[in-house]
Symmetry: C2
Subunit: 213 residues, 2 copies
DNA sequence: CGATACATTGAACAAATTCAAAGCTGGTGG
DNA sequence: CCACCAGCTTTGAATTTGTTCAATGTATCG
């Protein structure tokens, strides 16, 4: 498979090594809403998302899903579980048709981890995940609903204009009602005006930023 | 310094390398409540806690501190900031007198990161941090105050018996009032009885576990 | 047109914090 | 020895933030 060669993780491998890697891996095709793994599952494969996108979430005591992150190709998905040999800490669901490279983790570790090219990239990937989790904590623990919304609008205006209230609410882990009320509030405060379809016609980024920082 | 040799991270280094490492590092002594770094600071050193313990926290919009984790020696403290070259995502305060090895990060990366012994240990450390953050998310986003308390009692009974309500509350990011009320509730439900000083006299671990899992 | 999904609004509710007051407890100094 | 003080703990009441539930409004698209 030439695809492996294109995975940033493995570009520095020799052809021999690539062939060896192929022998311990397979590509899985998943359809929309299919679950890659559930929170609590024992990890066997290292998953690398090749195409499509994934939604990572946890389930709280009420049974509702808490959105953590959306993953895009190409990258490791939940290597923490493999590295620490613990169950997956969250569930991953396909947001559309996805292709995933599944690598037998035990064999990968024993055969490839000494390779400095690979280990450096693993470090980068882990550090990236850590940053994501740190942001999740900021969003969910530090910010109020209003602050989350303000932050989302400022930092992701294109998404804000594109998505429906229900979708945004689900990303922010708030209810559509709260989003609606908060947007109404921003409007009366003259901080934000939106046309139909969330098209932003006036935005006081200064004030919005002040709400969350 | 023979101390560096004892740091798990660097045990596999040659004497020459140790000497080189010494030349780009220094040991800092900090006193109780002293701040190692503040959230938002630019990282310059890689910090390795040698003795004492650190409290890592974020500050929310109300100005109150959200406890994230307590660090014990020996280990990296907030390497994420160095690796990703971003500001510290949280603040670190000494819980007692501390000694910290500070390593010039730029020189460390350029001189030592190719070393596979070191990179493997960095991977371990990062994976460990990721696990911690994942647990923070579980605690703060998924669990209710009651569930947090139940979990703490089951998983850290010795700490529960040792610490005061105010200290436990601060670890769990709840108010002492909430803790007090919840313990009273557990008592009326016959799930938990404590003598004076939190000494547990009766505990229904089964039921407690059911509250948080 | 009509159906279905999405958005808005109000009212009730829930969880936890805040504020205030009162009760304990343990150590200290007279 | 014990009275007192400082710091915890407990309890109640009010408040805050956001969710839930229900009703109504508004698109949009076959």
């Amino acid at each position: 498979m030439k695809r492996i060669k294109k995975i940033p993780f493995f570009t520095d491998l020799s052809d021999d090594e690539i062939r060896q890697l192929e022998s311990i891996s397979s590509v899985g095709a998943y359809h929309t809403k299919e679950i890659l793994f559930y929170e609590g599952d024992a990890p066997k494969y290292l998953h690398i998302l090749l195409s499509g996108s994934l939604r990572l979430y946890k389930t709280n005591f009420k049974g509702t899903q808490v959105f953590l992150h959306r993953f895009y190709p190409i990258g490791l998905v939940a290597e923490l579980a493999n590295f620490e040999n613990i169950p997956y800490p969250a569930s991953a669901e396909c947001m559309g048709p996805c292709e995933v490279l599944r690598i037998d983790y035990e064999r990968l570790e024993s055969d490839f981890f000494k390779n400095p090219n690979i280990s450096l990239k693993i470090i980068k990937s882990l550090a990236g995940k850590l940053k994501i989790m740190s942001e999740v904590v900021t969003n969910e623990v530090i910010l109020t609903a209003e602050a989350k919304i303000a932050k989302f609008i400022v930092e992701h205006q294109e998404l804000f204009e594109k998505l429906k209230n229900t979708q945004i609410a689900s990303i922010l882990n708030i209810t559509p009602e709260t989003l609606s009320r908060t947007l109404a509030k921003f409007k009366t405060q003259e901080i934000l005006h939106v046309d139909e379809h969330h098209k932003v016609s006036h935005i006081d980024a200064q004030s919005l930023r002040a709400i969350y920082s």
